[in-house]
Structure formats: C-alpha cells, structure tokens
Amino acid sequence: MEALIAQCVNGLAVGSIYALIVTGFNLLLLVAGVVQYSYAHIIVIGMYTAWFVMQVTGGGLLLAIPSAIAVSTVVSMLTEPLFRPLARKGAVNQTFVMSIGISMILTHVMAKHLHQGIPISFPDALSGRTAAIEFGVIAVSKGQIFVFFGSIAAVAAFMLLLYRTMMGRALRAMAQSPIIAKLVGVPTVRMSMASYGIAGFLGGVTAVFVAMSLGSAYPALADSLGIKVIATVLFAGLGNLNGGLVCGLILGMAESLTTGYLPGQWSNALAFAMIMVTVMFKPQGLFGTRI
C-alpha cells in the first residue's frame, strides 16, 4: 500500500508537468493553428540553458531560472514566421512535418554542440532531491512538492490570463475563428506571436520543473517528451485545454503506476495502446476536439 501511495505521489508530480506541457502545446494548436512537435525540444533547450548558467555562475538559481524562461520564449517566438504561411492555409499536417524539421536541427545542436551530447546533471540546488516529508517508505522530495504546486500556479496564472484579460479574450477569439477575430479588430499576427511567446514562457517554466523532477537532461529527452505530449493531446481531444490538463495527470499517474508494477518497458506500450483504442472508438478524443 505504501509503495502504491509513493507511486501515486510521483505520478502526480510527473502528471502535473505533462499537464503544463500539454497546455502550452494546445495554446499553439488553438491560436496559431500549428502542431508544434518541437515544443518539447524548446523545453529541453531551456533546461540546457539553466544548466549552462548554473555552471557559469556556480549554481546561481536566480539567474538560471529567468535565463531558461527567456531562451525558451525567444526560441519559440523565432519559429513563428516559419509556421505562418502554413498556418494561414490551415495545413495542420504540414505544420507537424515542419516542426519535425525544426526538431532535427535542435536535436543536432543539443547532441553535437551542447556538452557534446553527454547527459547533463543538475546540481542539488535546482533538482531538490532531498526528502521533505517521510512516512515509512514514502518519501516526498522538495522537488516533487515544488513541481506539483508550481505547475498548479502556472496553469492558474495562464487561465487567469486567458479568461480575465483583454489579451486572453483576443486569444480565445482567434481560437474560435481567426477570420472573425480579424473582422472585429483583433491584431491576429501580433496575437499569434503572443501565443508563441506565452507558450515559450510556459515552456521555460516547464524546463525548470522537468529539471527539478528528473535531475538530468539529454538530447533524446525531447523526442520522448514530444511524442508523449502529442499522444496525450490526441487522447484528450485536439485543442481541448481542460481535457489536456486531466489527461496529462492521467498519463503521469498511469506511467508511474505501470513502471512500478509492470515488467520491462511495457508501460510505454500500455500508454500507446490506450491511445490507439481511444482513437479507434472515439477519434475526437476523450473530451472532444476543439479545433
């Protein structure tokens, strides 16, 4: 029983990270109309930035976290002009292919030019591996607590921006219909750029949380995260923000529980089999497509 609770705690921490990534991914899908597979690569670039700044400053968190967020935001915004022509035509499949092209370039940069492709390990100052709460075999680390509550805070802040501000209203208008949004005076190009900026900002925050949760990063992490996130988005329903949050948590819990109780690498296969079955019987996802 204690082992089950420990797996659930871990699942909640991992799931909250997935939920955060899915939120950024869905924002781009809804507002900009792109399937940004390389979003996960941007997050890992953010992780490398945090690590690099910590190496240079001798473990200074105050500079490492803003740097990760700034770099992720800038890289995300730099991809906007590339996607714009395809997004205007509504060519969703081709935006996915383009993001794979971008991911090839980013993966090469990480594998060959950042720490020579050797996995990086974050100092304890960021990873927070020390146990904060202990009950028998259950140990909840400081990192897990921070990641869970930090993710809730980040999603709450994003929802406030989306539902309580003028910018959020403009973003929601674009998600419903870019043409009508333009007709009623929404600056669509600027808002599209803003969506990349917000997604990049969330990506930077996520990079810090992933660093805390995993304690390390490597180039292949981006592909692994990217595939899981796209699969979660599909499982929830393309562009469904609330569904994505729920399914992100479900994926984290399922992954943690299957890793704990199933032999070998069956956990990955089980997650993807769940997605296959959902797609076959409910092509619009569990909570319905919003695009």
């Binding site: 399937v35 590339l82 022509p85 395809l86 035509k89 060519a91 969703v92 499949n93 081709q94 996915f96 292919v97 383009m98 794979i100 092209g101 971008i102 991911s103 090839m104 370039i105 993966t107 090469h108 940069v109 060959k112 592909d223 595939i227 796209i230 699969a231 599909l234 393309l238 070998g264 690498q265 069956w266 990955n268 296969a269 993807f272 089999a273 997605i275 296959m276 797609v279 076959m280 019987f281 092509p283």
Partner: protein, 301 residues
C-alpha cells in the same frame, strides 16, 4: 560492384519504397506513419524465416508484402475514418507498441534482435525488379479510379463523399498497399544490413523519410524517386566535416521547402512538362530515324 555503391543503391531503393508507402495514404489526406511499423514486421519476418526456418531469400521477399498488408489491414479498420492528424499519432503509437513487443519477445532476440541474416543472391537484379514492379503498381494506382478517389479525398472529404466513392474503403486500401510496400522495404533492409533489432525501426526512420517525401513532392510519386537518390547520396559527396551537419542540412531544406514551395520540388506541373518534353524528344528522334531510313531506302532505289 563496389560495396559502398551497392549499399547506396540498396538504401535508395528501400527509401523509395518507404516514401511511396507514406505517399499513398497521404494522397487521401492521411499522414500515415505506420510504414515504419510494417517495415519492422517485414524485416523481422524475412530475418526469422531465412535464419530459423531456412527459407530461400527470394521466397521471403515475395511473402513479406502479404504479411505487411495483413498487419496494416488490422489497424486500418480502426483508422479508416480518422482525420489526418489523428492518423499520424495513432500510427506513430503503433511503432512504439511494436518496438516494445519486439524488445520483450525472446524468440525474436529481444533487444538484441536477429543477426547472421543471409544477403541477397543477386542484389542488383532483385533491387531493379522490386523497384520496377512496385513503381508500376504505384503508377497504375495513381492513374486508376482508386487514385482519383484518393486525390479527391485529399482536397475535400465532403466533396469526395458527394461523388460516391466509399471513403473508408479507399483509406483502407491505401493503408494496406502502404503496408505491403513498407514490408517489402523491410525485407530488403534485413538482407542489406544482415541484422535487425527493435531500435532500428523507430522515429529515426521517419526523420529520413519525411524530407524525401515532403521535399520531393507530395502530389506525385516521382518526387520520392528523385529525392531518395539525392538526399541519400548527399552524404557520399560531402566533405567529412560537413557530413556531421547532415541532419541540420536535411532539416533546413525541409523547413525552407515547406515555407517556399509546400507542394515540394517535383510538382505535377513539372512532371507534365518533363513528360511533354520527353514525348517531343522521342517523336523528334523517331522522325529523324524514319527520314534517315527513308533516305537510305531512296538511295538504294
């Protein structure tokens, strides 16, 4: 023939077949990524039957498309009505499920896979015959009722439905054909490399096929033929220092082509123009030959 050249030709044919396997369902507007899944099935089938059951290599090559078609048919039933991007992720899921299953199956060698697979007896002839037969089938499909129905689906599912073709059936047939072609590519891969293991059939294969199909052109089968030869040949002619940047070069070309020419380098218009040029050249040669023959006959008279 030198070994590097034979390897280049083998992989060019394998990637042309895989690109066609991606191209056929894309004609219906479905980004179907399962060719890697059926390629793995074809490769493991060829490897297992030739090593464990001592099947002749040619028999394995002939049977592998049937096995691939069968394994493509099963998920195709579920994916027949799935929209474009949903198909992409569901078919991607198939790759990861199969990889995990292969890693956990002891009789298929687990994570180490199968090795000591015999090579092709007559590699050049086999590759040429496989490419010619597959190309003819793809060409005939492209110009058949099925191909036209698929093209209509690509442009508009709603309009295609009005014209009467069974959309689900078209989608299933394209996925099954794609499965057969990619399983054939898998069998050739097994014989060309001599070993198969689960990690060989993953996302890395897609990263090679995507540039071939999308730079070559998604609207004709010829784009894949040209680009497979060019992109697979680039590392052979580039200096050592630049080869290291191969992925960046492929990625950058892919991004540039999608921004500047989304239909790809080899468009339908280009194929039509080249076809007309070839026709006029052929008729000019024929006329010259006839007049020469006529003059020769006149001289004789």
């Amino acid at each position: 023939m030198s070994l590097p050249l034979l390897s280049y030709l083998s992989f060019t044919v394998i990637f042309i077949l895989l690109s066609w396997a991606l191209y056929l369902p894309y004609r219906c507007g479905q980004l179907y990524l399962a060719p890697v899944y059926t390629m793995a099935i074809g490769a493991y089938f060829a490897a297992y039957t030739t090593t464990a059951w001592s099947w002749p290599v040619l028999l394995a090559i002939v049977v592998s498309p049937l096995i691939g078609a069968f394994f493509a048919f099963l998920p195709a039933i579920g994916l027949r009505r799935a929209p474009g991007f949903t198909t992409a992720i569901a078919s991607l899921a198939l790759i990861f499920i199969l990889q995990t299953v292969l890693r956990n199956l002891k009789f298929l060698g687990g994570a180490l896979g199968l090795f000591a697979i015999p090579p092709l007896d007559y590699p050049l002839t086999t590759l040429a015959v496989v490419l010619f037969v597959s190309g003819t089938i793809v060409y005939r499909i492209d110009h058949s009722r099925l191909g036209r129905a698929a093209e209509l689906l690509y442009y508009s599912r709603e309009e295609a439905a009005c014209f009467g073709p069974d959309l689900a059936l078209v989608s299933i047939m394209m996925q099954v054909l794609s499965g057969a072609l990619s399983a054939l590519a898998g069998a050739l891969y097994a014989f060309a490399v001599g070993s198969v293991f689960p990690d060989a059939f993953g996302f890395s294969i897609l990263v090679v096929i995507f540039p071939i199909v999308f730079i070559g052109g998604t609207l004709t089968m010829w784009g894949s033929v040209v680009m497979a030869a060019v992109l697979w040949g680039i590392p052979l002619v580039l200096p050592e220092a630049v080869i290291d940047w191969k992925d960046v070069i492929y990625g950058a070309i892919l991004v540039c082509v999608l921004v500047l020419r989304p239909e790809g380098v080899v468009s339908k218009e280009l194929v039509r123009k080249v076809g007309l040029r070839a026709q006029s050249l052929a008729s000019a040669v024929r006329c010259a030959w006839m007049s020469k023959k006529g003059a020769g006959a006149g001289d004789a008279l």
